[in-house]
């Protein structure tokens, strides 16, 4: 399927919309009618053709516009991209993984020629043609993580592994669900997860960390996480909370279907070979309730899930002001029929 890139916005007039084909491939995160935190990690093996799991990194119709939004965020706040000095090897590891994967999986869009350390990268959708020397920072216009990070959908962080811990020592984060890279840089796995309710006590993070520390080269894993966002806004950072916080009070029974978006993160975890670091990719998908209910199974399930949430999660995800309005609107689409297991459409 040849991709046609949309020209759309994630701020101000919010022209972002999914095409019908994109709706079908949305990674709906709820595998049953209720939700709670768990160590939901599975091997990141290639999924069905056309699905968001088909390739190592998913590129879709929003690619070009998302990259434009990222450039705007970085222009306003360079602190959204940071790397501590000891992460340079990991940065190159990330650049290699991203370029090799994209060129292999999307040969019509990206090409990579390698002759020893002499690399030639062509990104057709963004009109980039770059020759550089692998390992030489000065041969690129940005440091390697920022260079590829500006050319791939999703946020990324790099974790150094030492003393039986993972340390978030680098990242390029411009479309996050309300956490600050600038604040979290240098923290370990338990520390950056500190604000998450219930999961520490349930042992989720202890088990997840133990698993990640033993991750092997070439054996990536993935998991899904979700929240809700008002308007298709990518930059819901704490930095800009005074700009988007008000949106939460604008939801009415009339506009809820259009305004409230389910925001799903397809998270990938990769052991990087030379640095022994772990790459964490956070690929976000946004879909309005209106579009979600076009898939009957999702329309039935989502209100049930929203009703099942523990209060701590409602508070943490910032749903309190509009959750009931969303449930009331969604329930029209729930005929009470049983739903099939798994997240995919029937």
């Amino acid at each position: 399927m040849a991709l046609i890139f949309k020209d759309e916005t994630f701020r101000d007039d919010f022209t972002y919309k999914n095409s019908p084909a994109t709706i079908r491939r949305f990674p709906f995160p709820f595998i049953e009618d209720q939700y709670r935190y768990s160590v939901n990690i599975e091997p990141h093996t290639p999924g069905p053709k056309g699905s968001v799991y088909e390739f190592t990194f998913d590129i879709d119709e929003h690619y070009v516009s998302e990259m434009r939004d990222r450039a705007m965020v970085l222009q306003e706040d360079p602190g959204r991209c940071q790397a501590l000095p000891h992460m340079m090897t990991a940065q190159w590891d990330m650049l290699e993984l991203v370029m090799v994967s994209l060129a292999r999986d999307y040969p019509d869009l990206f090409t990579l020629h390698r002759d020893g350390a002499h690399w030639h990268w062509i990104n057709k959708p963004l009109n980039i043609d770059q020759k550089f020397t692998f390992g030489e920072v000065n041969s690129l216009p940005y440091e390697p993580m920022e260079y590829v990070g500006r050319q791939i959908q999703g946020d990324f962080s790099l974790q150094d592994q030492r003393d039986g811990q993972l340390w978030m020592d680098a990242g390029i984060i411009t479309s996050q669900a309300d956490w600050s890279l600038d604040f979290d840089v240098g923290m370990n796995f338990f520390e950056w997860h500190a604000p998450v309710p219930l999961a520490h006590e349930a042992g989720v993070f202890e088990r997840a960390l133990k698993f990640l520390l033993n991750m092997q080269i070439g054996q990536p894993v993935r998991r899904l996480n979700w929240t809700m966002t008002i308007n298709p806004r990518l930059d819901t950072s704490p930095e800009n909370y005074p700009k988007w916080g008000k949106d939460r009070t604008t939801v009415t029974p009339e506009n809820v279907g259009e305004k409230v978006h389910l925001r799903v993160e397809l998270q990938g975890l990769f052991r990087l070979p030379r640095s022994n670091a772990i790459l964490f990719s956070i690929r976000g998908y946004l879909m309005s309730l209106e579009q979600i209910v076009t898939v009957p199974k999702w329309g039935r399930r989502l209100p049930r899930v929203l009703k099942s949430l523990p209060p701590e999660l409602i508070e943490y995800k910032g749903l309190a002001r509009y959750r009931q309005t969303a449930i009331d609107w969604l329930e029209k689409y729930d005929d009470g029929a049983p739903t099939s297991p798994g997240g995919g459409p029937d």
Binding site: M87, D163, K210, Q219, P273, R274, S275, N276
Partner: protein
């Protein structure tokens, strides 16, 4: 996740590098590129010796960025050996085919360190070979202190000295030379980390010396080339399947489970990674915890065992499997 995906390699080169040490070079069976790796990594080598299956970890020694081949060095453990190192020395030659795991690193240099002091004894030099390669490429400050019985017994002394110059210091036991660790540690800049690999007594000595010099624990790192120590036979009961499996004197619990087709989780098989941690439901004997993973409190608690290394002296043990 139990175990690891394996890849087939062919032995491209074997060289006797010291009295009891051979160096092996592996290439992919189809000459496909191997993964790059990080300094301090090891691979597991699977060996079929008669009807016995062994998987021994060996440190990677070459350049971490060389994807054309991997190199390991194996010390012949002699009569003591249950067979792995003996098999490598006597049955593996150029052209032999073996299976290996992906590289795994349980002994990485700390990238925040201002300087790295590497202390090696005998075959314990191997993880430092790739580590120095990496540190040198990163222009990180390091020095190696390498104790050998004699120049005949110590591998790579000349090579290392010619490549890294005065950063390499070799101490020959046959000449009465000892690693002057007190003096070495006494004059290091703040932010230096020490790494030690060698026989257990040497590791203990180095760590203790550093502690007595006032070095914080956080700056000390070690890797021990442990193999599962033998003992008396005993019985393992599996709570979930209700099976009973006999562990022979020269077997680890993990090996006995594998021999009987029970799928158990593992990675390093050296008691370091934590992957094989298994719940203990009942035990009428005393557990010999031979791993480097469980905390003292966990050992005393008696609710966990690392089945790649630990065993019981007598009686039977019931595991949550």
């Amino acid at each position: 996740m139990s175990g690891f995906p394996l890849r087939r390699v062919r032995v491209a080169e074997v060289e006797q590098v010291a009295a009891r040490i051979k160096r092996f070079r592996f290439v992919d069976i189809d000459n496909a590129p191997l993964s790059q790796f990080s300094g301090g990594s090891h691979i597991s080598v699977v060996m079929h010796s008669g009807d016995r299956l062994m998987r021994n970890p060996y440190s990677l020694m070459g350049s971490p960025t060389d994807t054309s081949s991997y190199q390991i060095s194996v010390l012949h453990c002699g009569a003591d050996s249950r067979g792995g190192s003996k098999f490598m020395h006597e049955n593996v030659a150029v052209g032999s085919e073996l299976e290996i795991s992906q590289p795994l690193n349980l002994f990485p240099p700390v990238r925040l360190a201002k300087k790295h002091v590497l202390v090696a004894g005998g075959i314990g030099i191997t993880p430092f070979m790739s580590m120095m390669n990496e540190l040198d490429a990163l222009r990180s400050d390091f020095e190696l202190h390498y104790g050998v019985r004699s120049l005949e017994d110590g591998a790579y002394c000349k090579y290392l000295q010619s490549r890294y110059g005065s950063r390499v210091n070799v101490y020959r036991q046959d000449q009465g030379q000892m690693i002057p660790l007190d003096a070495i540690l006494g004059e290091q800049r703040l932010g230096t980390h020490m790494y030690v690999c060698g026989p257990k007594p040497m590791i203990d000595w180095a760590l203790q010396t550093a502690e007595l010099q006032g070095w914080p624990q956080e700056n000390l790192h070690s890797e021990q080339f442990s193999a599962p120590p033998p003992g008396k036979p005993f019985v393992v009961k599996l709570a979930k399947s209700g099976r009973e499996i006999a562990v022979k004197g020269h077997q680890s619990i993990l090996e006995a489970l594998e021999e009987h087709g029970v799928d158990a989780s593992f990675l390093c098989r050296g008691g370091a990674c934590g992957q094989c941690e298994t719940g203990v439901i009942a035990c009428d004997g005393y557990i010999d915890h031979n791993d480097h993973f469980l905390s003292e409190a966990e050992r005393v608690g008696g609710k966990k065992i690392m089945i790649c290394m630990s065993r019981i002296q007598t009686g039977s043990i019931t595991l949550d499997l």
